[in-house]
Symmetry: C2
Subunit: 627 residues, 2 copies
């Protein structure tokens, strides 16, 4: 009479004959859901055999690697005549082990994240035992090694770099043939990246990298268990060469300046890696994989590709789908021969940050409900779709929402003003900073909060002009321009000018009008949207009411909105750890239709109408009540 044990519940049940595993679980009081009705398609009932065996007649959606690791669909398995221990996998997102600094992943619907059984990075470590050399078998060291690799990883050609071959004789003879290898498995071949004596499969790390026009984030993950270790962010050093993609493209026209831009983004990334490696006590060669997502221009500059054609009709970049280059080819300071995954782009102005970011939304599921995805960065990118269609477009918002182009602007880091409340009568602000420290600048969400409170208290008008008719110690007029002072006299002086307020208005108008036009083009309205995903570098905080008040976001029921943070980075993490998500991203890129707003006649009208707070047509913002 076989005994079935369920972990982590530690519930054991004895059964007397071959029984469906779902039935056994039900009898044992262990919950295993199977919403697809035992079709093997939803993946919700996947469990792992820790010891013993089951009769499984169909591996369903499981990869060969997952099957090898003992994962089965409970709905496709029956008990056998032996004891078995079954582990119900926890969701990755429930493990609660993510680093504090990578809160963004918790904003994502857990169902979208890779399951534990899907963890399959492109580059993995394996432990192998290579048989010793035998007389007259006609096999070289390389033959014995590649035969062992094929036996373990599958029959594909094995590519061993010459640098490794130079130590192979020694490595294979050091620890009785026991070796740890790091391998990237591609469609037609296994690329060997490292071979070392002994067993060290846990020391394998990967990076998810989001390259924004203004900010760059690098996140470290253990590829052994998909646990996020840390994330670091800094400004893109290219900012000195231009604030938005168009000015960078113009700057790159001379070859030495293209080279400079390449060096600047490599320096930005490599400094972040250096810092991570130091704080995590790693060697940079322990990092054997990297997923890089960024807009099309950023990727061109990273690779040293001239971006000129991106801004010239017919707007054809050198590449959209990047092949795998090695870290050494690109100049990234991790293991030199490891392949870098660059998220595929859709067009000249919708890049891999979007195909990564969309992995954080229901647009990639088989839902028919309509979603809008808005990534608010220096470029604003929009995606509208459901399981039937996906359209996308881009607009230029400028760097204002990331603290760029504003004298006292800064990223959402400690010291940034992120919330402002203005006293209706005196016009004097009350501020809140990240980390509750004296202010050193103002971030994007702070600017949105500021404009919203100034508008609601009547201290600015619909055009963004400060009220000069009422005296306030916070308002200072210099020549033709007025300034709004955010700091108290004992603090570092932080002022925002009317022209900086105009920057924000232009940015929000660009995004809102692009959303409106894209919906108009497919004959839909904001009301028909089920979910509006907001992604972008606002840090921990974006006040929805404020964003609607200034007309950045549409005046829709608040429950429709979902803020998902740096979705490009989170999506890159998914692509880093999961083969299924790499596949999904590729399919997604093929399904998307790119709309060029600049050639659409209605866009300028929509944009001009949106250059007011909240909008020329107040009827579009019924819930915004102004004084």
């Amino acid at each position: 009479m076989p005994r079935i044990t369920f972990l982590p519940q530690e519930i054991t049940i004895d059964i007397d004959r071959e029984t469906d595993l779902l039935t056994v679980a039900e009898q044992a009081g262990v919950e295993i859901s199977a919403p697809c009705g035992t079709n093997g398609t939803c993946g919700k009932c996947i469990v792992r055999i820790a010891s013993g065996m089951l009769h499984t007649h169909d591996t369903g959606m499981l990869s060969p690697a997952a099957v090898k690791a003992g994962y089965v669909h409970a709905c496709k398995s029956k008990t056998a005549d032996v004891d078995v221990t079954i582990v119900i996998p926890e969701r990755l997102s429930k493990k609660g082990k993510f680093a504090d600094s990578s809160e963004d992943i918790k904003k994502i619907n857990p169902e979208l994240l890779p399951e534990i059984w899907q963890i399959q990075p492109l580059v993995k470590k394996y432990h192998l035992i290579v048989p010793s050399a035998q007389p007259e078998d006609g096999l070289s060291d390389l033959d014995r090694f590649t035969n062992s690799v094929k036996a373990e990883l599958g029959e594909k050609s094995v590519v061993v770099p010459l640098s490794i071959m130079r130590h192979l004789a020694q490595i294979l003879r050091k620890d009785q043939g026991k070796v740890t290898l790091t391998t990237a498995s591609f469609e037609n071949h296994h690329q060997i990246i490292t071979v070392n004596p002994g067993n060290e499969i846990k020391a394998n790390y990967g990076l998810a990298v989001d390259i924004g026009t203004t900010t760059v984030s690098v996140q470290l993950t253990s590829l052994f268990d998909a646990e996020i270790k840390t994330v670091e962010t800094s400004y893109n050093q290219q900012i000195k060469c231009g604030l938005d993609v168009i000015s960078r493209i113009n700057y790159a026209q001379r070859p030495e300046r293209l080279q400079e831009l390449k060096t600047r983004i490599l320096d930005t990334i490599n400094l972040l890696i250096e810092s991570i490696v130091k704080t995590q006590n790693l060697d940079s060669s322990d990092i054997t994989n990297m997923v890089c997502s960024g807009n099309t221009t950023m990727i061109h500059l990273l690779l040293g590709l001239p971006p000129e054609q991106i801004r010239l009709a017919p707007y054809t970049p050198t590449l959209l789908n990047s092949p795998y280059f090695t870290a050494d080819d690109i100049g990234i300071n991790i293991h030199p021969i490891t392949p870098i995954h660059i998220s595929p782009a859709i067009g000249s102005y919708v890049g891999g940050d979007i195909t990564a970011g969309l992995l954080c939304t229901d647009i990639i599921t088989d839902s028919e409900e309509l979603s809008l995805f808005i990534d608010i960065g220096t470029n604003g990118e929009l995606v509208l779709g459901n399981c039937d269609f996906i359209t996308t477009c881009a607009c230029s918002a400028g760097p204002a929402f990331e603290g760029g182009g504003i004298k006292k602007g800064m990223r959402a880091a400690v010291g940034a003003i992120e919330k402002v409340t203005v006293d209706p009568s005196t016009g004097i602000p009350e501020i809140q900073t990240i980390g509750d420290v004296p202010p050193t600048g103002i971030c994007g969400s702070g600017m949105i909060s500021l404009l919203s409170t100034l508008l609601k208290t009547g201290w600015i008008d619909s055009a963004g002009k400060l009220d000069r008719t009422r005296p306030s110690s916070a308002i200072e007029v210099k020549g033709r321009q007025a300034f709004y002072k955010l700091s108290s006299p004992d603090q570092e002086l932080i002022m925002v000018s009317e022209s900086e307020i105009e920057n924000i208005i232009r940015a929000k108008a660009a995004i809102y009008s692009a959303c409106a036009l894209m919906l108009e083009q497919v004959g839909l309205s904001f009301d028909e949207l089920n979910t509006i995903y907001i992604a972008g570098g606002f840090g921990h905080f974006l006040n929805l009411e404020d964003a609607i008040t200034i007309g950045l976001l549409p005046d829709q029921p608040r429950e429709k909105f979902q803020y998902i943070g740096n979705a490009s980075l989170t999506g890159s993490y998914m692509v880093l750890v999961s083969a299924d998500h790499r596949k999904k991203q590729k399919e997604l890129a093929q399904r998307m239709t790119y709309i060029d707003l600049s050639t659409e006649t209605g866009y300028m009208d929509q944009y001009t109408a949106a250059l007011f707070l909240p909008h020329t047509e107040l009827s579009q913002f019924p819930s915004v009540l102004l004084p």
Copy 2:
């Protein structure tokens, strides 16, 4: 009534209905042989359609590239209802265009050489027109480029190096999309090596390289038409680190010395390339392919692989079948990203020089007649076989036959004594030098000639000792050793010592006894051999009678012997220009059985018996009449 024209004969014939092409040729009096009886397997009847068309129902043994170029089997083709011009291809070997310095190829049976329709180097140049960028087709420059490559070269993935991608936008827009590409086509992908605007497909060169323990030869070939341009030879700079492979392996035990050996062979090859590039007025990056053949130790040293295990039981080298590395990986100064073909090795002491050299013999044909292949170098390698079996073994001859280990020894170059006649009564030599210039040294064939004439005139005995009983001005005795003087008093002093004569005796004994033992092992004798191929660095001259007189070669009917020169280099040339020969070489390597003589009990007896001139058992040399 279609008109059929045959070229180069310029014979035209009108026919009134669909007719077999072989019949038409017969009627026209044009000879096309078809020994396989119209089976399409011998390839002898292959012709090229220059204009018009034929009905061809089977492409037989032709590669897709050859079919595309218009080649057909005459035996599989009928005339159609249109005029057609047929070109009967000349054999490569009949073109008579080979450089003077590469005479070796003329020693080979022309039937073994690649036919013109087989010319298919691994790396080829192609002319392409890539369509210009179109609005909203969703294609990047890279997409359009790879689509064009696939349309031209076949549906495989296209690998474009980042360094090329950086110029792709400019290249594709420079000459209306007209580009010349250099591509290596592998099983699963096309590797792009260069892309340039315009049409430059003729400027494509390759190298065949023979890396010997003592000498290194580099031959330049146009890959456009397989024409050999030049060959240059020099001593292997590794000689300073040891004269034979065992001493090199011992030298390489310290890592810095392995590095030194690698640098020395790279310097040797790169200096030869530099010289060729200069005299041929090329740029080193015009050379986009290389085939390298050498013994297993030489290849290990070239690649920087520790050779230690080659001389330690169970004699397992790091590699036998080398994958393709790039020129840059290895350190060869030709186009850096081009793949290098290294001829496959059979065992620790039978290397790629043999799998290349065998391509010059009937052993690779479907003949049942037995052949013996003897490659006389610092290592002697032997191959015995026919269409049914191939066995191979190696013996250490030392560098004496290449002028090494002999004070006044030299390569077969201008100034080398290559023939000696000794006056029976005075013992005074008459010498002949290469180039008829005053002698500067003596080469291998000169040493063989010297020993033969000294033996026949009685001036040395069977043990190789000079006759001290008769006075001769050519003999000088210093202490316990006698010397034989080859130069006249007005010339540079050239003497050969008795211990140097012993070196030659040991070398010839090693080779002869290995031949005898290998035959004995398969139950055969010298009499059963149909052909004895002699390969090696003897230059233009090896006197068969002399070689038999000293017992280097067996006393067999002279017509059985065929001297094929540097077969490793000629075979490398074939592999360089022909895909069929690359395939043949690979199959050959898989068919060969390696015999380790050092473990055979009879070898020492055979060797000791051969340490006399010509041999202890004179009955084995009935035609050698001694005084």
